[in-house]
Amino acid sequence: MNGYRLGIDVGGTNTDAVILDEDDSPITQTKRPTTEDITTGIVNALDDVLDAVAFTADELEYVMLGTTHATNAITERRGLNDVGVIRLGAPATESVRPLLEWPDDLEAAIGGKTAILDGGHEFDGRTLNDLDEAQVRETVREFGDADSFAVTSVFSPVREDHEERVAELIHEELGEDVPVSLSNEIGSVGLLERENATTLNAALTSVADEAASAFLEAMDERGIEAQLYFGQNDGTLMSVEYALEYPIFTVASGPSNSVRGAAYLSGVENGIIVDVGGTTTDVGAVTDGFPRESSVAVEIGDVKTNFRMPDLISIGIGGGSHVTREGDDVTVGPQSVGYRLTEESRCFGGETLTATDVEVASGSVDIGPESPDVDAETIEGARSHIRDRVEQAVDRMKTSPEPVPVVVVGGGSILVPADLEGASEVYMPDHYEVANAVGVAIAQVSGQVDRIFSLDDQTRDEALETAKSEATENAVGAGAAEETVDVVDVEEVPLSYLPGNAVRIKVKAAGTLGDE
């Protein structure tokens, strides 16, 4: 039996909250506008749900937070740290400098401090080039005004010691408090993608700190003493300490939570999930209750990265999308009023015609104090534009031409027609508006193993089994109920030419939060 749990999802437009009872059923929910300072929106949402239940705040056992804060910071280039990007590998790797393919404005937003220094390893663990500590110290001092550092060494997934030594040197030069992100902890083999992911992680540490502080402050203000977890990209949870160190692992938690929540609420374990927010609509696939992962390097803020992310198509249509008409041509989005829906939308007395206004005018919903006057052609044009875009996205996510179940969730669900082409059925489950918050509230805890196994005295299968059972034990140790734990991710990096035959195996297992 689990205790009461609170799920909160801070989106770009709305902050959603839900409380689940001991049987994981939602007992109350709310949706409040996300505020500029985040905290106010969270406190408003907390008050709504706590007012609606018969117990007090201190009886909440767990609080789970999903946030797109980090993602928005990257896309809007807002609040990012100045990062000292250090790559160890010279003279190798100089033919492709760090940040070469980054958009100019993103490169500028993190300060553009990069260096390729001596160091790194060969594929078999031999030293590629000795670390030059004096050179590192000099570079660190030169980058002294950087807020954080990203360190990537050639073949650090095989040997991480150069990265770790550079972290020590940075701390010796600039103090223990300077955040340092090491690439071997973030991504896998593939230097540039791993370096990009590590640099983004380093760029986000202040943003993450701000978001976590805001949240802890809000919990404190309302007397909540529950254990706090953050949702991460794979649909599982992480502790606050972990989230502060690895904020990049939260960037796709929103879509993962909505996929998990939609599957849970609708009972559809395999199908397509359409999550309609205020600014965008995310279309993902659910396979056995979990988000399907992307098979290609995923771009974040136009930068290629190589850690695991859900497979997703994002289209610029949401409840706050601008509706524009030029002649007979009606388009929706990608501009949006975002969280200012209740100020700028016509149904709230504002000046901007939004997708929500179109539905209000058609009489299908009643939102806001005003009833905007919109002509029939514009309503028809906007609706067919939305239908086309959503149907195309659903079709792209499908693996076969046969119709599949489609689950529509999110505050903007009213925009999606119930007879989508390609859908065997369109579900809009109860609590659809807060599916993200439900998804993070029911999320699982995970355990990992990342170690080099010798294949001298055991087979590959035996090594995999050992890694899987250790990952399972670790998940149980982190609070998962043993009978619910499954292996959710396996990755192997072969290391040849080491004495004996060796392989680096990474395994992640996850299960539901268990009995206390």
Binding site: E94, G120, V189, L191, E293, V296
Partner: protein
């Protein structure tokens, strides 16, 4: 046909097309593309020279990277080693090269010579010597034409270089491979010096622009929300072999090669069947649990992401991926007895007879 250039804008399409022709191997062209991008940024666009425009007696020197794909995505070149190898070869022959060329149209080595051409300010010939990617130095149509791999110059990122002269192209492969492992698993080579006349007779012509067109076909289909796999299969006149989900990928590194098998469970029309893909860097044999061999080397076997149509390399294959496997005919040069001896299934130690892909598929259609 002359006066074509390769600009920074062309590189993405070219890299996509090269990944398709790379049949899962050949290294990730992403790195080669970025090397070319940085080189073009520094030196300007590269002239793409039609094979017809290379004077008969002028010298063409292909440049390439040699080593393990797992290494190349980590230990990116310095850049100078390619130029060093190229210039060492020119010195030994005593003739300046008129142009450089890609040794293979697939994978990393399709784009690396663009960086070399930019740095040396010489043209890149619109041709290669495989029409796809193969793992070993001697596996080029130039070998079939009696052209020698040596003199060959090999250089590493630390400034070391070695000069190789061998009796056979197989021996050049063995020496180069041993050296590449000693150089940390990857190095740059300048090899197979040949003339304009030899190129036109023994090379695979206009394959660079073909790769660029393949990439453009996929990109345009994606942009138009059309099915990129259908568009690609039509453009290359290929075959859709299997549709499924990756169930297991077993891989190990042997002698610098990524060797292994991928197992794919069928979906849609292929439900209930299993496809096994054997690879040694490149995909070499595709075997269906019911229908037997669907395609084998030297024909091209490429794995694409079922949703996006983007090609997936053997390195990128992962559990749970939805993939479509397609097949394409190889160059007729490879289907001769000499060609099959050099790169047929038997060479890669598969106990199967090569059957042209278009024959296998006529049988299936019966």
């Amino acid at each position: 046909m002359s006066n074509d250039t390769i600009t920074r804008e062309d590189l993405a399409d070219l890299a996509t097309g090269a990944t398709v022709l790379g049949t899962g191997g050949g290294g990730d062209p992403y790195i080669g593309r970025l090397m070319a991008e940085q080189a073009i940024e520094e030196h300007g666009p590269v002239e793409l020279l039609d094979p017809a425009d290379v004077p008969d007696d002028e010298l063409v020197v292909p440049s390439a990277m040699l080593g393990a794909p797992t290494v190349m995505v980590e230990k990116i070149p310095h850049g100078g080693e390619a130029v060093a190898a190229f210039e060492a070869l020119e010195r030994s022959i005593g003739q300046e090269a008129y142009a450089t060329m890609s040794i293979e149209a697939g994978g990393l080595n399709s784009t690396i010579p663009i960086a070399v051409a930019a740095a040396l300010e010489i043209p890149l010939v619109d041709a290669d010597a495989m029409g796809r990617a193969f793992p070993e130095v001697q596996m080029v149509t130039l070998t079939l034409g009696g052209i020698e791999a040596t003199p060959m110059a090999i250089a590493d990122e630390k400034g070391n270089s070695v000069f190789v002269d061998t009796k056979t192209n197989e021996k050049a492969e063995q020496f180069a491979r041993t050296l590449s492992i000693d150089m940390g698993g990857s190095c740059m080579i300048a090899t197979y010096p040949h003339t304009g006349t030899q190129l036109r007779e023994h090379g695979i012509l206009r394959s660079m622009s073909y790769a660029r067109d393949i990439g453009e076909t996929i990109r345009e289909a994606q942009e138009a929300s059309a099915d990129p796999i259908d568009a690609l299969v039509e453009f290359v006149d290929g075959y859709e072999l299997f549709d499924g989900k990756v169930k297991d990928v077993a891989r190990r590194t042997e002698g610098g090669f990524a060797v292994g098998e991928a197992t794919i469970d069928g979906l849609s029309a292929d439900e209930g069947r299993t496809l096994t893909l054997d690879f040694q860097n490149e995909h070499l044999v595709a075997r269906d649990s019911e229908r037997g061999v669907l395609a084998s080397v030297p024909d091209l076997i490429t794995v694409l992401d079922s949703e996006t149509g983007d090609p997936v390399t053997t390195e990128g294959l992962r559990y749970g991926q939805r993939v479509t496997v397609i097949g394409m005919e190889c160059s007729e040069k490879w289907r001769t007895p000499a060609g099959l001896e050099l790169v047929g299934p038997e060479y890669f130690e598969y106990d199967i007879d090569y059957e042209p892909i278009e024959h296998i598929h006529t049988e299936h259609d019966k």
